[in-house]
């Protein structure tokens, strides 16, 4: 039996991952969504971009053999829009989260590692960003800058880094007190070396978990924007589908399929990313499962000797 490593790498990571039901469930949900988005043109029965001759009958058609999930207010196939809509959600989620993680990660590491004035300024900035209500600000900025996919990604990404920055800073604060950082310094290592070899690799797992969780937030934000009418009109998205259905009489037409379908898509993706994120967290940081025989006792409880009088 191998000792429980502090961080899992390679094969042991996948073994632990495969045993974690939450992580696997999230992973499978997302794999399905990603496949659907990738092969949307092949799967979708119709092309949502194609214009349809609207007749009275073609609006809000009930689900049937021609349209498995019925049609929307413009007579378009809901299933096809639903499948194509996954693309927007995933693209916005992934890219916006990437922007957030890069910003939050670097600010958090810089604040935690350098401390002092750098930390005070960066953390004040973070606090300010944290108290500004996200959604109204997003709405205002997107409204001003024109709702295009790129703008939406940028705005969501640029506003979503605060929690990451705080988490990473906290992690960095503990990492920089590790004895191996002191050892590296005693050898003469500079900041860049320490950040690259001793801080970043140990912050990385946190960043991965966090980015997965942030994707779900970004997807929710995008849907909210679209629902409020601030969607890129050139592409189909789930929020936009909801917005049209909501504002164009799906309720009064009792066309539940036009509302439930995009709503289900949003829930599916958000739930998938959240499950995967929490699952990964458990896999990467399995402290709760340790007892004093699987790990070395030192890993479980460190005797905290009071430091010498240095402040």
């Amino acid at each position: 039996m191998a000792e429980q490593p502090i961080l899992l790498t390679g094969a042991s990571f996948w073994r632990t991952f495969a045993r974690n039901r939450i992580a696997v469930a999230g992973f499978l949900m997302l794999a399905l969504a990603i496949l659907a988005a990738l092969f949307a043109p092949l799967i979708a029965p119709y092309d949502p971009a194609e214009s349809v001759q609207i007749t009275i009958d073609s609006i809000y058609q009930k689900p049937g053999p021609a349209h498995l999930l019925g049609t929307d207010d413009a007579g378009k196939d809901v299933l096809s829009s639903f499948i194509f809509g996954a693309r927007v959600s995933l693209i916005v989620g992934v890219f916006a989260s990437f922007i957030s993680i890069v910003i939050g990660g670097s600010l958090g590491i810089a604040a935690g590692y350098f401390g002092g004035r750098t930390e005070r300024i960066l953390m004040r900035l973070t606090d300010i960003m944290l108290v500004i209500p996200d959604l109204p600000l997003t709405v205002v900025i997107v409204a001003i800058t024109r709702p295009r996919l790129l703008n939406i990604i940028l705005v969501i990404g640029l506003l979503g880094w605060t929690t990451t920055a705080r988490l990473v800073r906290a992690q960095t604060l503990t990492l920089k007190e590790r004895k191996y950082v002191l050892r590296a310094r005693s050898v003469g290592a500079g900041h860049l070396h320490i950040l690259r070899r001793h801080i970043f690799p140990l912050v990385l797992p946190l960043l991965v978990v966090n980015s997965v969780l942030i994707i779900s937030l970004a997807i929710l934000n995008e849907s909210a924007l679209s629902f409020l009418g601030l969607s890129d009109p050139t592409v189909v998205s789930w929020g936009q589908m909801l917005n049209y259905a909501f504002s164009r009489g799906a309720m009064s037409a009792r066309a539940w399929w036009a509302l439930v379908t995009p709503g289900f898509g949003i829930v599916w993706l958000v739930l998938g990313f959240t499950l995967l994120g929490h699952g990964l967290e458990q896999v990467i940081n399995p402290r709760t499962e340790w007892h004093h025989l699987t790990g070395h006792p030192r890993m479980v409880s460190l005797p905290t000797t009071p430091p010498d009088p240095a402040p």
């Binding site: 039996m1 007892h291 004093h292 025989l293 699987t294 006792p297 005797p303 905290t304 009071p306």
Partner: protein, 327 residues
């Protein structure tokens, strides 16, 4: 020995079971007795099972730990078959424990006085708040902390003070037995001496029986009446303190003593035992000390030695002692 033992442990075995892995035999067939007011040293290195054994006495093992065999009798009452409620009543009121690492065992957000009070209230729910407070102050005084410091938080205490507070907490319900798990590790020598002195005085003053769980032979030599040396989860040697230090029979005890620095004999160089202690999930098939033993012979690798009575009240588990035991 004429009086009935206060605590009598017979053939206690503890396994750790993690699904998908071989069970780890952390403690195997360990027996000892403890008389009222007696101090027993439970000695061994990391992973030898001494902490597991002490937790098993209180039935405080983690969920993977199972007591697979044996009996623990306190005042002739079997503890292993008690219900969880009955056991909770025994804990602290009769057998208390001072945990390793006083820094982590105290709650940082409540005062020391409150935490001591908590232990009292848990077992004496009908005490009035004033009585609890008085008792907490008494306890602090007993361990050498000014009662006025009851309203302070753990971070305002030094390492030595926190260890004292832990001792006060263990004494809250006037137990008959206190188990002290590495009570002085990570403390400075002078503070160590203060704490050991305190424990020794309390033992005499209150007639406590104390089990010192430690790797520090110095602590044992200074404070204990009897010693149980553990290695790889089994009893290596069990005798009174003078025998252990002056006529040790088990090779492990002998080697361990040579590895411990003795300022009264500055000429003798320190000895080390080659190799490392076995892991409880990967025990050697024969004698557990065989891979490191200087007197090892063929049989040691194949057969586990029995615990032999080498002289009255002196037990050791080594094949080499068979002739003595049969005599």
């Amino acid at each position: 020995m004429t009086t009935a033992p206060l605590l009598s442990v017979t053939d206690l075995s503890v396994d750790f079971r993690v699904p998908g892995r071989a069970p780890a035999h952390a403690v195997s067939q360990v027996s000892f007795t403890l008389q009222p007011g007696e101090a027993l040293g439970l000695v061994g290195e990391s992973g030898c099972g001494k902490t597991t054994l002490s937790l098993a006495l209180l039935r405080l093992l983690s969920p993977q730990g199972y007591i697979v065999n044996g009996s623990v009798k306190f005042n002739n009452r079997e503890l292993l078959t008690l219900s969880e409620d009955e056991m909770a009543d025994i804990r602290w009121r009769h057998i208390a424990m001072i945990f390793q690492g006083a820094m982590n065992a105290l709650n940082p957000v409540t005062t020391i006085g409150y935490q001591i009070g908590e232990a009292i209230r848990r077992h004496y729910p009908f005490m009035t708040p004033v009585e609890v407070q008085t008792r907490a102050a008494e306890l602090l005084d007993l361990v050498g902390i000014a009662p006025s410091r009851a309203s302070q938080y753990p971070h305002q205490y030094s390492g030595g003070m926190r260890q004292r507070a832990m001792i006060a907490m263990a004494l809250a319900c006037s137990p008959e037995i206190v188990i002290a798990d590495e009570p002085t590790t990570a403390l400075d020598v002078m503070i160590q001496a203060q704490i050991l002195d305190l424990l020794d005085n309390l033992r005499r003053q209150l007639g406590l029986a104390v089990i010192f769980v430690t790797h520090d032979l110095g602590v044992v030599a200074e404070l204990c009446d009897k010693v149980l040396v553990m290695y790889g989860g089994v009893t290596a040697e069990y005798a009174d303190v003078d025998t252990i230090f002056n006529q040790p029979r088990h090779p492990y005890t002998q080697e361990l003593l040579k590895a411990f620095p003795d300022l009264t004999q500055p000429q003798t160089a320190l000895n080390s035992i080659p190799g490392y202690p076995p892991r409880p999930d990967d025990l050697p098939p024969g004698c557990r000390f065989a891979p490191r033993c200087p007197h090892v012979f063929e049989r040691c690798h194949i057969q586990q030695p029995a615990l032999l009575t080498v002289s009255p009240n002196h037990l050791a588990s080594c094949h080499l002692l068979e002739s003595d035991a049969n005599r």
